[in-house]
Amino acid sequence: MAIVRFGDQKFFRNPWADFERMRRELDALFQSGVQDFGGRMAPTVFPALNISEDAANIYVRAEIPGVPAERIEISMEGDTLAIGGERTTCAGGEKLSYHRRELECGRFNRAVSLPTRVQADKVTATAVDGILTITLPKAEEAKPRQIKVNAG
């Protein structure tokens, strides 16, 4: 389902144009912060993600320690990538006396919308040493293309 933003409809004279512009500028400001200073965005939902791209692929990396590869569920729906699973490493026996309990256990679910269209059927994922790497090949129309300028 395509959602058309109110302000995107051409026949309306958009009263929110200034707010839209402000939002876009703020977005750009945060974006540049990420790229220029190497700043870290505070993650809000487990797992923390690193997303990067090159010409051909988008890479999504996540730190998911203690969850074996076969227990990580990845699904694609349109432009949204969902990562879910459950961590059960906590022993949780009654007879144990805990000195420290810092590891989290339970279910997790995170969805991100991707910046470009990807070929959902060619997505691959590997989990090595608790780091999940998902490689999403960009759709043909989203790949950058060099256009040759012919001399007249």
Binding site: I51, L96, G130
Partner: protein
């Protein structure tokens, strides 16, 4: 099965006493430590650390866990979102129990280190029967 939702934990950066010579980040790994009658178990979360990158040392009652990452950051990619930074892990504990150094077992799976530190025999609890006259 637990229905609890996992909460995000920010990785804690290690505050080192000396200034590091290498520009490398070190984090304090989150741990679970529990004790049974026979052993002390330590679970440490170290995503990105391979089996060969782990060093465990027990010296004069101080247990040192260190993990070095082998994966280098990929080249030629534009960062779109960065919520975590890879880095090594280092944490020290003082262990009160008398540990049998020879029988320490370490296992690394999916970025979680599992350590079993067996106690030496005399430290095991012994039930003393009280006899009636």
């Amino acid at each position: 099965m637990t229905e609890k939702e996992m909460q995000i934990q920010q990785k804690k950066e290690l505050q080192q006493a000396g200034e590091p010579t290498k520009q490398e980040k070190f984090y304090v790994p989150a741990v679970d430590i529990f004790e049974t009658a026979e052993a002390v178990h330590v679970l440490a979360e170290m995503p990105g650390v391979a089996k060969d990158g782990v060093q465990v040392q027990l010296e004069e009652g101080t247990l040192t866990i260190r993990g070095d990452i082998a994966q280098r950051p990929p080249e030629g990619e534009t960062v779109l979102l960065r919520e975590f930074e890879p880095g090594g892990y280092l944490r020290k504990f003082s262990v009160a129990e008398t540990i049998d150094q020879e029988r320490i077992e370490a296992k690394m799976a999916d970025g979680v280190l599992t350590l079993v530190l067996p106690k030496v025999e005399p430290a095991k609890p012994r039930r003393i029967e009280v006899k009636g006259l």
